[in-house]
């Protein structure tokens, strides 16, 4: 049985979504899984980990890594690897990973295969050349570091169980930490996480004017969905830019994408074509969105959606 080390990222006091996916991935790969949590919030996170089917959690607390800094993390992960000699280190491909993991790889000379989208035995698929091509990579080394792109594995597939945690003592020389992190950067998108939303109501130019935007929010509320938009709506300033879907916005793959008044220009479609189900409402029967929609409704959203909201409400009440 192989030993897998998963480095878990702290996202403001709870486990990062992509760390959950990494754990699900490690469970799929199969083996004895050890999680590593670092920093001031380590106890809270190890508590989250205690109900997951892994071997154990290592907790590192040290004043030099009370919050993230690349030098401290590199040193700690290196020490943990040297002391536990895992066969594989698995992590979500976050900004933090991009920052410190190459240093670990270089420091102890083990290969790092980053940004993996698919795992098939020992063959890892990653995208290259602006995601135009997929490349299959395998490693000749006994030990390797793998990072998974968002949605490579699903956090829903995590197997629950019971695990314990123990402290791991590290030896940190203050001189190695050359930078101090500031407060975590507040992303404007923090309000909504479109990329992990399961249901999305998305509006386009067919909404006609800003005054009609609440219709989308009402529908979203009834469905329990997030609201996104295509470019013209964002450009008009009717919704903030973090809600934009498409080549210059987010790429999403929800279970249901409810497209309202969006024509379906290719720039938009590349951001949502991975949706499991697409329902499209558009006045124009020739709108390209209908080519990829699972359910097509030709009609005016301003007429249809209010009725749909009523119907859904009644359904809920029953």
């Amino acid at each position: 049985m192989i030993n897998i080390l998963v480095v878990v990222e702290d996202n403001r006091g709870s486990m990062h979504r992509m760390s959950k996916e990494a754990i699900a991935g490690a469970q799929k790969i199969g083996g004895s899984i050890t999680a590593l949590v670092i920093g001031d919030n380590a106890d809270t996170i190890s508590n989250e980990l205690s109900s997951i089917a892994i071997e154990k959690t290592l907790v590192v607390k040290h004043e030099l890594v009370s919050s993230y800094n690349p030098d401290g993390y590199t040193e700690i992960v290196t020490q943990v690897i040297e002391s536990t000699s895992p066969d594989m280190l698995v992590i979500g491909h976050t900004y933090q990973t991009r920052d410190f993991m190459p240093r670990v790889s270089a420091r102890i000379d083990i290969p790092f295969i980053p940004d993996i989208i698919e795992v098939e035995q020992d063959i890892y698929t990653k995208q290259v050349l602006n995601s135009k091509l997929n490349s299959s990579v395998s490693s000749l080394s006994d030990m390797k570091i793998l990072s998974f792109q968002s949605a490579c594995f699903s956090a829903e597939d995590i197997l629950t169980g019971r695990s314990s945690s123990q402290n791991f003592d590290v030896d940190l020389d203050p001189s190695i930490v050359r930078s101090i992190s500031e407060e975590p950067f507040q992303e404007s998108a923090a309000e909504v996480d479109l990329e992990s939303a399961e249901l999305i109501v998305s509006v386009g130019r067919g909404i006609e004017k800003e005054d009609n935007i609440p219709i989308a929010f009402t529908l979203a509320e009834v469905l329990g969905a997030e609201v996104s938009a295509s470019r013209p709506v964002i450009d008009s300033g009717w919704l903030p830019s973090f809600r934009q879907i498409g080549s210059s916005g987010s790429a999403v793959s929800p279970k249901l994408y409810f497209s309202l008044g969006i024509s379906g220009a290719i720039q938009h479609v590349v951001g949502m074509k991975g949706s499991k189900n697409i329902i499209a409402v558009n006045k124009d029967p020739d709108a390209p969105i209908f080519e990829i929609a699972d359910y097509a409704v030709v009609g005016d959203l301003l007429e249809i959606v209010p009725k749909l909201i009523e119907a859904l409400k009644t359904e809920k009440d029953l």
Binding site: S236, A265, I266
Partner: protein, 546 residues
């Protein structure tokens, strides 16, 4: 006061196209030969050399052979030698071969090429010769000391939509140089102001432009003959719009299909992108594209004016080369060799100037003399009245070209010099017949504009001040909508300009992130209120082999 980094160079070329790159290579070698140590740099707004380069192209290898005397043609990054050439007149459904193709229009001994590949290759050669290329930096302003140009300021980064500084704001740098060589390409943004400020077009014909739009088509294996060349006149443009189509066979079964549309048409509804789509409804073109897939799109304007539209080329501390100066042979449909040669001639003058440590106009004027006694002049002189003839339509243009051919370049009425007027002035008020009412985009052979734009891979940082400045936006919704019906929607081949409902009225929406940097709007706007300035460095199309 913002503190800017200052970089001291001896010579700075602006724009890494064939003119600047050939000039920089030639200059570096001449300086080395004369035992001088000078620093030469090239500024490029694209993220990498070649990403904003687009041309037909058929290349006359003359300048390349001069620049690389030790290399053979096989070493140049061409697609193929022209192996078969045709000239057709198209009607809506038929193609009629021209009975006679004059040798001056023949492409014998020339090569089908991708300008993107050629500039990348030249860029590598440049760096091997010790020239520094700064990619991802756009020149936004010329720096003066009195009348002497002493450098170029690059654009700031990190300014948001409203014009305020973002967290990662980075001021542009000042690059100082003894000579600034403007090789910005067609309708350069620095060049435009520079020509005006120094009155360099005095006594010249105004420059007239065309816009070329093209698509690359990946065809099934074994169906495209590399080096196959066809040019057409007639459909879809008709006789009143200058221009024609080209179809070139590239390596690896790629068709290079494009259309050049003169930016001096009368009907404000003309849309070069839509004309290219109409071209593909022709049965012959359609049959050639059968089973293929469109893989890339792009557009670029080109200077058609010829010899009499070339400005004065030097002032104190600066020179103009390549398309920025208008070195293009409209009859031969070629300019790359002229651009390269102009850069090389500028390099020769600069070498002398550095030796003499003299960079004022009286010295740099030597470049213009070199142009006049070079083969650039011989070639352009013979066709000096070519484009002006098309002011009288296709038949007039061809007749005039015939007169030129027989007389060594004379125009209508055996005149030495035909005059012209700027293209945007020719646009006529009032709505004309809709040329595209029957045009159906099927998504397979014919594409709407935004789909084509997607295939230009263009991208811009969204949170910045739009780089298309409309100086009097009221004109769009008061005057222009009445007089011309907002032709910006039509002449922009990238769907940048859009009139959207705004209450009971309309307003102009500028989708600047669609821009493919062709400069057509700056040229063709009938009120001349659009000013194209560079967006943040590195933004724009990402063309691989256009």
């Amino acid at each position: 006061m913002i503190e800017r980094e200052i970089l001291e160079l001896d010579v700075l070329f602006v724009g890494a196209g064939p003119a600047s790159l050939a000039g920089a290579i030639h200059l570096q070698r001449l300086l080395r030969k004369s035992g001088q140590d000078a620093s030469v740099g090239v500024l490029e707004k694209a993220g990498e050399v070649g990403a904003h380069s687009l041309s037909g192209a058929i290349v006359d290898p003359r300048a390349l052979k001069e620049l690389f005397p030790d290399k053979s043609v096989q070493d140049f990054p061409f697609e193929a030698e022209v192996s078969e050439e045709h000239l057709y007149y198209l009607t809506e459904s038929r193609k009629i071969p021209f009975p006679f193709v004059p040798p001056s229009m023949s492409h014998h001994g020339c090569y089908v090429a991708s300008l993107g590949k050629l500039t990348r290759w030249l860029g590598e050669a440049c760096e091997k010769d010790g020239v520094d290329i700064f990619c991802g930096f756009a020149g936004t302003e010329l720096i003066y000391d009195g009348d002497q140009i002493i450098g170029v300021r690059t654009g700031d980064r990190g300014i948001d939509k409203k014009g305020t500084k973002k967290q990662h704001f980075e001021p542009g740098a000042d690059i100082h140089a003894k000579v600034v060589v403007l090789g910005e390409g067609t309708r350069g943004s620095l060049t435009k102001n520079f020509l005006h400020k120094h009155s360099l077009m005095k006594e010249r014909n105004p420059q007239v432009w065309a816009v070329g739009v093209k698509e690359l088509w990946q065809m099934p294996a074994g169906t495209v003959q590399p080096g196959f060349v066809a040019h057409t006149m007639g459909f879809p443009l008709g006789h009143d719009v200058f221009g024609g189509a080209f179809l070139y066979g590239m390596k690896n079964d790629i068709w290079d299909l494009g259309l050049v549309v003169g930016l001096d048409y009368k009907n404000p509804g003309v849309d070069s992108h839509h004309e290219l789509q109409r071209l593909k409804t022709h049965p012959w073109i359609r049959s050639l594209l059968e089973g293929g897939k469109m893989v890339a799109y792009g557009a670029k304007s080109l200077p058609e004016g010829g010899w009499y539209s070339i400005p004065k080329l030097s002032v104190s501390g600066a020179m103009l080369i390549g398309d920025s100066a208008g070195f293009m042979n409209g009859q031969r449909l070629k300019g790359i060799h002229l651009a390269m040669k102009s850069g090389m001639l500028a390099a020769e003058t600069i070498t002398e100037a550095i030796t003499e440590n003299n960079f004022i106009e009286t010295k740099l004027r030597d470049y213009e003399d070199r142009v006049k006694s070079s083969w650039i002049r011989d070639e352009l002189w013979k066709v000096r009245n070519f484009h002006q003839g098309f002011d009288h339509g296709l038949i007039g243009g061809l007749t005039n070209a015939g007169i030129g051919l027989l007389t060594g370049g004379l125009g209508w009425g055996f005149k030495e010099r035909l005059t012209s007027i700027a293209g945007h002035i020719r646009m006529e008020k009032g709505m004309k017949k809709d040329r595209y009412k029957d045009l159906q985009f099927d998504g397979k052979y014919l594409f709407d504009k935004v789909t084509d734009v997607y295939h230009s891979a263009t991208a811009h940082e969204e949170d910045q001040v739009p780089h298309l400045h409309v100086n009097e936006p009221d004109i769009c919704i008061t005057k222009c909508v009445e007089e011309y019906g907002n032709p910006c929607k039509n002449f922009c081949p990238a769907d940048v300009y859009e009139m959207v409902p705004d209450g009971d009225n309309q307003r102009l929406q500028i989708n600047f992130s669609n821009c493919v940097h062709c400069k057509t709007c700056d040229i063709m706007d009938p009120y001349q209120i659009i000013d194209w300035v560079p967006p943040e460095g590195g933004d724009g199309p990402v063309w691989i082999n256009l």
